[in-house]
């Protein structure tokens, strides 16, 4: 995983000196990060450090007060979320957040809300059935009645239905049983191997770094570490403060 695609090419999605406020509260402070096509990268940070805000800013759900969000070299600040979704950016929200009273099938179809290519949608549905056979068995079931692991699959399936180039995942292992966390990371890797770039926000740093190419560490809205995953894993500072080792 060290043959990083970072050399030369333009990043798919970038943040350049982004500041974000909720009202008067300054959340993100001069955040710089970049995601290259086909990469698997992760953003680490404690509670309320601004991880989810970073994702929402990337997807245009929150507008930066200064600095730029850049997609394929184009500044997309202030563009609606649909603009980014149409161009291949998609989010798997924190806690999966399925449309609970809608069926699994309806959830998947909503993932393809902006698409008009019927054949392509059908093809992607079948791709997801292949990836998650459990989901196929439960298409007609109301998604709120699925188990946690199954909900995670539907949430990933729903995101994949927009045929993304980059998947923003907000704490994919939160709320999952320990046994499922492992499987979940395998699924993420599997999706990654199909060529989708992944930007993953995690508190579970060890696990995330073990599959990622690169990582950033966020502390109260500021990027304090920016390095390859291997280097971060070896970083004594991080190990002490963040990976919970004395």
């Amino acid at each position: 995983m060290s043959d990083s695609p970072r050399s030369g090419a333009t990043p798919l999605l970038e943040m350049r000196g982004v500041n974000t406020h909720y009202g008067a509260v300054h959340i993100l402070k001069d955040v710089e990060l970049s995601i290259y096509p086909g990469e698997l990268v992760c953003l680490l940070g404690g509670n309320a450090s601004g991880k989810s805000t970073t994702l929402k800013t990337l997807l245009g759900m929150v507008t930066p007060t200064s600095g730029d969000v850049v997609l394929d070299g184009e500044v997309v600040n202030g563009q609606p979320t649909s603009y980014l979704v149409e161009r291949g950016v998609t989010m798997v929200p924190e806690n999966r957040r399925l449309f609970k009273r809608l069926s699994v099938k309806e959830n998947l179809e909503l993932g393809a809300y902006l698409r008009t290519d019927k054949d392509g949608i059908q093809r992607d549905l079948e791709r997801i059935y292949g990836l998650f056979p459990r989901v196929y068995e439960r298409l007609a079931q109301k998604s709120g009645t699925l188990s946690g692991g199954e909900q995670q699959m539907v949430a990933m399936g729903r995101a994949l239905m927009s045929n993304p180039r980059v998947l923003l995942m907000d704490e994919p292992s939160m709320g999952l049983a320990p046994a499922l966390v492992q499987t979940n990371f395998q699924l993420i890797q599997q999706i990654h191997e199909e060529g989708v770039a992944i930007f993953m926000v995690e508190q579970n740093a060890n696990m995330a770094l073990s599959i990622a190419d690169r990582g950033w560490v966020l502390q109260t809205g500021r990027v304090v570490l920016d390095d390859t995953a291997d280097a971060l894993l070896a970083n004594p500072e991080l190990r002490a403060s963040y990976l919970g080792e004395a």
Binding site: N95, R97, F99, L102, Y113, T145, G148, G149, M174, L180
Partner: protein, 606 residues
């Protein structure tokens, strides 16, 4: 209760949950006193149900001890928990509950006799005392109410002892007799129209109320239905559900054809009163269908929905009446209703945008309050000096002509049948539109927004536009209803568009079942047809004084016992009763440890 559940032997008579009995009993006593002081017994005493023994006034006090006496003995049967056979214990529990309740009424009798609280309690009257004491002295009243309470509670409790079938027979009989008696006006009207006068004469006593032999006849027929008829109905339902694909579609087509034919043919044989009721039902159904899109599909809790009804009514009235406010320049012509309707659509849509745009970004509870305010603002604008010259102020707009249909008919209030057909036509359009929208991409988007707005946004749905669209569609449907209302009544006043209209429509939608078209239809028929609209009398005109009380009670009961509405749709039911379902599963040890149902959305920190 499943047949396979093994029952433990009945528990001993004294092995009671006394605290629960006291709770139920006090609840009963409180409810009875409340009903009495809400003037139901006196107000409804002239409504004779069974001549000469029973008036609706007494029934208002008698049904509760029976019901609570029965329900104290019911327990929620969860699989995996031992449940006991029913026996004398349930009867005793029922009797105790009834006795406490009867004690409540007795206490009221004593208080009525000794104190005069007429000042805060307007219904604290000698008539009430006389009625509760059976014109026979206080001591007699106290004794009889204890006996009645205990007796009815005991009767209710002993319903547990008889077989389920017998229980169904008895309850069907009682409900049928009361129903036939209460619906006397309409039923005898219908009977007359169908040349069944002789039947009505047999069942009903001349001066109102069911005769004893009539009651017996009804009871026998109802009992027979409970034994055989309901089985046939169930069978038909099951075989319908077994149908697949094409056959099912055909069955659907047939039933739609039957409903359409009935809608067209029935008003021809029905009398004026009935058609008037149906027309009112239609007007409110149209409103409820619109609100169902806004609340049921898009999840926007709009409490000012009456505003769009008002816009439709006023626009139509002003454009078609010679008697509009005098600030209008004379060159604005009076136009045909259909032409006015075109403008009504445009104006209602614009009002929807105008009100919707500022409020649509608010969160649910704020939005509810603000829309409530807007609903009143629109009405006050029509009433104000500022617009009074155009809207007639408190005098309103009068002399609104009916709807001329190509010289074939003039649809107005004096011809309720024609009004019904007009309103049914628009309801049909509204139902079709709702149904198509629900299945469409935009319908999906509405549901997504209703379920989780920020995730819907993350899917690329423009939530603001989508919600505005729901608001506008709802506004236009409501304005249709307003346009027909103006032509039907022949006038519009600010008082026709009070907040209560919004509330009643909301109750219709909730009681019918949010997001469920068939349920909304059923809700309109039951609530508007039987109880009546905010100002429109229903079938039970005697109830109009208590209409709001009953609406409220019904709403609370529905939220507690049947949150999915009158006609549940399977999916909603499963979701709303999921807690029970999970409990069952948990008791069976079926939830695998570790893989908990992913429901963490509420507990997780941001």
């Amino acid at each position: 209760m499943t047949d396979t559940t093994v029952l433990a032997p009945a528990r001993g008579v004294l092995d009671q949950d006394w605290r629960k009995i006291v709770n139920y009993g006090l609840l009963l006593a409180l409810a009875e006193v409340f009903i009495a002081l809400a003037n139901m017994p006196v107000g409804l005493d002239d409504f004779i149900l069974i001549e000469p023994i029973l008036s609706l006034g007494y029934v208002s006090l008698l049904w509760l001890p029976l019901l609570l006496g029965y329900s104290i003995g019911t327990e929620k049967v969860l699989e995996g928990v031992t449940s006991h056979a029913k026996g004398a214990r349930e009867v005793v529990a029922g009797a105790c509950v009834g006795l406490i309740g009867g004690g409540g009424v007795s206490g009221l009798v004593l208080l009525l006799d000794n104190f005069d609280l007429r000042d805060p309690l307007v219904n604290w009257s000698p008539q009430l005392l006389a009625l509760l004491a059976f014109d026979n002295g206080v001591g007699y009243g106290v004794g009889v109410w204890l006996a009645i309470g205990g007796g009815l509670g005991l009767l209710g409790g002993s319903m547990h002892l008889i077989a389920p079938l017998a229980r169904r027979v008895v309850s069907t009989m009682v409900l049928a007799v009361v129903g036939v008696a209460v619906l006397e006006t309409i039923l005898s009207d219908i009977a007359e129209d169908l040349f069944l006068e002789w039947l009505a004469d047999w069942i009903y006593f001349i001066r109102g109320g069911v005769s004893l032999h009539g009651a017996a006849t009804v009871a026998v027929v109802a009992g027979a239905y409970a034994v055989w008829g309901s089985k046939a109905v169930k069978g038909a339902k099951a075989s319908y559900q077994a149908l697949e694909g094409v056959e099912r579609k055909q069955a659907n087509k047939v039933s739609i054809a039957v409903v359409v034919a009935a809608t067209i043919l029935l008003p021809l044989v029905l009398g004026k009163i009935t058609n008037e009721l149906l027309a009112n039902v239609g007007l409110f159904l149209l409103l409820a269908l619109g609100l169902n899109i806004v609340i049921g599909l898009a999840g926007i809790l709009d409490l000012g929905y009456v505003a769009f009804f008002a816009v439709g009514g006023y626009t139509t009235a002003i454009l078609t009446s010679p008697n509009r406010g005098d600030s209008w320049p004379t060159w604005i012509p009076q136009v045909w209703w259909v032409v006015a309707l075109m403008l009504v659509i445009v104006l209602a849509g614009l009002t929807g945008l105008f009100i919707g745009a500022p409020v649509i970004r608010m969160r649910g509870d704020y939005l509810a309050i603000v829309t409530l305010g807007f609903g009143e603002i629109i009405r006050l604008l029509f009433l104000s000096d500022w617009l009074g010259g155009f809207t007639g102020g408190a005098q309103g707009v009068t002399n609104v002509p009916g709807v001329q249909v190509f010289g074939l008919a003039n649809v107005r209030g004096t011809d309720p049948r024609a009004v019904f057909y007009l309103v049914a036509f628009f309801c049909a359009i509204a139902i079709y539109v709702s149904w198509r929208l629900e299945k469409s991409r935009i319908g999906r988007a509405w549901m997504a927004v209703r379920e989780d707005e920020s995730v819907a946004e993350a899917m690329g749905i423009n939530t603001v536009n989508v919600k505005l669209l729901a608001f506008v569609v709802g506004a236009v449907l409501a304005s249709f209803s307003g346009a027909i209302f103006a032509a039907k009544v022949g006038s519009v006043f600010p008082t026709s568009f009070i907040i209560l209209v919004s509330i009643v429509i909301l109750i219709v939608v909730i009681v019918g079942g949010m997001g469920n078209i068939a349920g909304v239809v059923a809700g309109s028929v039951v609530l508007i047809g039987v109880l009546g609209g905010p100002k429109q009398p229903g079938l039970l005109q005697e109830f109009s004084e208590f209409k709001l009380l009953i609406y409220g009670a019904l709403l609370v009961w529905m939220m507690l016992k049947r949150p999915e509405g009158l006609i549940p749709n399977v999916r909603r039911t499963r979701e709303l009763h999921q807690d029970e379902f999970l409990q069952d599963a948990w008791l069976k040890g079926q939830i695998d440890e570790g893989d908990e149902t992913g429901d963490g959305g509420e507990v997780a920190p941001a």
